[in-house]
């Protein structure tokens, strides 16, 4: 094992290696069907998949499906976040509520959201509402738990100081509770955004409301392997974009916070 150096490797080297890794993956993928290890019918050539991907990008129907998926995602995430912040703040600040809801939360949180799919289908049929039930349920807990922790994490000394300096209620909120909770909230939001995307696509696959997920299921049942792989790549890129955007937002909003400042100093 080489001794870990404190010097950071140059960014260029890093980028080059990263690109090499990606290229290696693509070449490997191309080689497997080319060498006949797996029938191209089941694992199509990467060149075919990329060609299909390029085709889709100029297809309006594809963008409409993408829009449909992302609309479910956005609505679900917003509803879940608003509800979780409101309820989480309330429960986090009132010790009585925290004690009484604890069992309920610990029971409801581990229930896999996909278990609710049949119920959602019975209630709403093959519609966006059914998907939203699943998305909201799954992403709600991610934010809720973080907000509870965050609100309860206010430093005791800071709280006493604020009180003895006679800060008003509203000032305590903006100067004490909000800055403490924000890092927790951003973590919860980042996790919830990823979870919401996963469930938006899953719901479309299982329930069949229009969107990318349904298209994936249709390509599978239609035996269109190239289309299937192209869509899988699209969902991966989508997930990557969501991760990057939320990480960026997190860094921006928390630029004052120790966790981000500390990283930059290294």
């Amino acid at each position: 094992m080489p001794v870990p150096t404190t010097r950071r490797p140059p960014a260029l080297r890093r980028a080059l290696l990263g690109v090499t890794g990606l290229a290696g993956f693509l070449v490997g993928w191309q080689a497997i069907p080319a060498l006949g290890l797996i029938d191209p019918q089941y694992l199509p050539y990467v060149t075919d998949v990329l060609a299909r991907l390029a085709e889709q990008l100029v297809d309006l129907a594809f963008w409409r499906r993408l829009g449909s998926t992302m609309t479910s995602w956005a609505i679900g995430l917003t509803v879940a976040t608003l509800a979780a912040v409101a309820l989480g703040t309330l429960v986090g600040l009132v010790p009585f509520l925290r004690r009484t809801t604890h069992t309920m939360v610990e029971f409801l949180r581990p229930i896999p959201s996909v278990a609710l799919i049949p119920l959602a289908v019975l209630m709403f049929g093959i519609q966006r509402q059914a998907a939203l039930v699943i998305i909201v349920y799954a992403s709600f807990w991610q934010v809720f738990v973080q907000v509870i922790y965050g609100v309860a994490d206010v430093d005791a000394v800071a709280r006493d100081t604020a009180r003895s300096f006679g800060l008003r209620r509203r000032e305590q909120w903006t100067h004490l509770v909000l800055p403490t909770t924000l890092p927790y909230l951003m973590t919860g939001l980042r996790l919830a955004a990823a979870v919401a995307l996963i469930l938006a696509i899953t719901a479309e696959m299982v329930i069949g409301n229009p969107g990318l997920g349904r298209m994936i299921e249709l390509s599978r049942s239609g035996g269109d392997a190239v289309g299937l792989y192209a869509l899988v790549v699209v969902t991966g890129l989508l997930g990557l974009a969501v991760n990057l955007v939320f990480r960026f937002v997190e860094r921006r909003t928390l630029s004052w916070h120790e966790s981000v400042r500390g990283e930059r100093a290294l």
Binding site: M1, A115, I216
Partner: protein
């Protein structure tokens, strides 16, 4: 600490242990009981046939799941889940350690892993069906392909975060490679590994259910979807309840394991805090 010296601060009342236990129990069970009663009332009053009352669901639960169905549907599902999670932990920790200890490999794979992690795991079910057919292997592979990433990436981070002073000390004392791995690197990474395993567990449960809803003729997910398609509403609710129970049970078991594995870690943190 008295902020206002003029005021007499009352000593906290001492309650007897018995009273405290009762209030604790009330706090723990009060709300669930209240909700259950409320549910019963609403269900008997309302005419919504998708919301049966709790007693009907309990009956359906006993009729459906206690008996041969447990062996036929529940155990195979849990077996696949267990196999998938175990394989993910082994693979994730092994690969994560290697990648974490080899800087050039980490840089090589970073963008690729970032992409692979971002692929929503249920999307891999159709791909696995295409490659492996509708088999048990396919379901386990699907579970692994979704659950391995949180463990792998957390292991990489954990291994990277090993205290460099400790590493240098171990090197200068000529601690062998395997001993270093076993006594230094893995313990240092274990809090991160456990955090990854917790995420992996919930992903694995989701994938177990979905892979069965999609492509199966047995299993928990298949049963629930079957009940829904045949409008067996109470049975469907009982299945959702069972899945919830499995989720809670897994969380509890994981909590116990985590506390055992990370006892030293929590211990050190307590000491540091004091």
């Amino acid at each position: 600490m008295t902020a206002y010296p003029g005021r007499v601060v009352a000593a906290p009342r001492r309650r007897r242990a018995g009273t405290r236990a009762v209030t604790g129990l009330l706090h723990a069970l009060g709300l669930p009981m209240l909700l259950l009663v409320l549910w019963g009332l609403v269900a008997t009053r309302a005419t919504n046939r998708f919301l049966p009352d709790p007693v009907t669901i309990a009956d359906a639960f006993v009729d459906t799941w206690i008996g041969p169905a447990f062996v036929q549907d529940v155990l195979p599902s849990l077996y696949r889940l267990g196999l998938g999670v175990a394989a993910s932990v082994v693979l994730g920790v092994a690969a994560g350690t290697v990648i974490g200890l080899t800087p050039w490999l980490r840089e090589l794979l970073e963008p690729l892993l970032e992409f692979l992690r971002a692929v929503p795991p249920p999307v891999l079910i159709p791909v696995a069906m295409l490659l492996l057919g509708i088999t048990d292997t396919m379901k386990v592979v699907v579970i692994v392909s979704g659950a391995v990433w949180p463990i792998l990436l957390n292991t990489v981070e954990g291994v990277r975060g090993t205290d460099s002073v400790l590493t240098q000390t171990a090197l200068s004392f000529r601690v062998t490679r395997w001993e270093r791995l076993w006594f230094l690197v893995l313990p240092a990474a274990s809090p991160r590994i456990m955090a990854g395993a917790r995420q992996a567990l919930s992903v694995a449960l989701i994938l177990m259910v979905i892979s069965e809803m999609f492509a199966s003729s047995a299993g928990l997910g298949y049963r629930i979807a079957y009940f829904q398609r045949n409008y067996l509403v109470a049975e469907m609710w009982s299945g959702i309840l069972l899945l919830g129970g499995v989720g809670v049970l897994l969380a509890v078991v994981f909590g116990v394991v985590e506390r055992r594995v990370l006892r030293w870690y929590h211990g050190t943190r307590e000491v540091n805090r004091v």
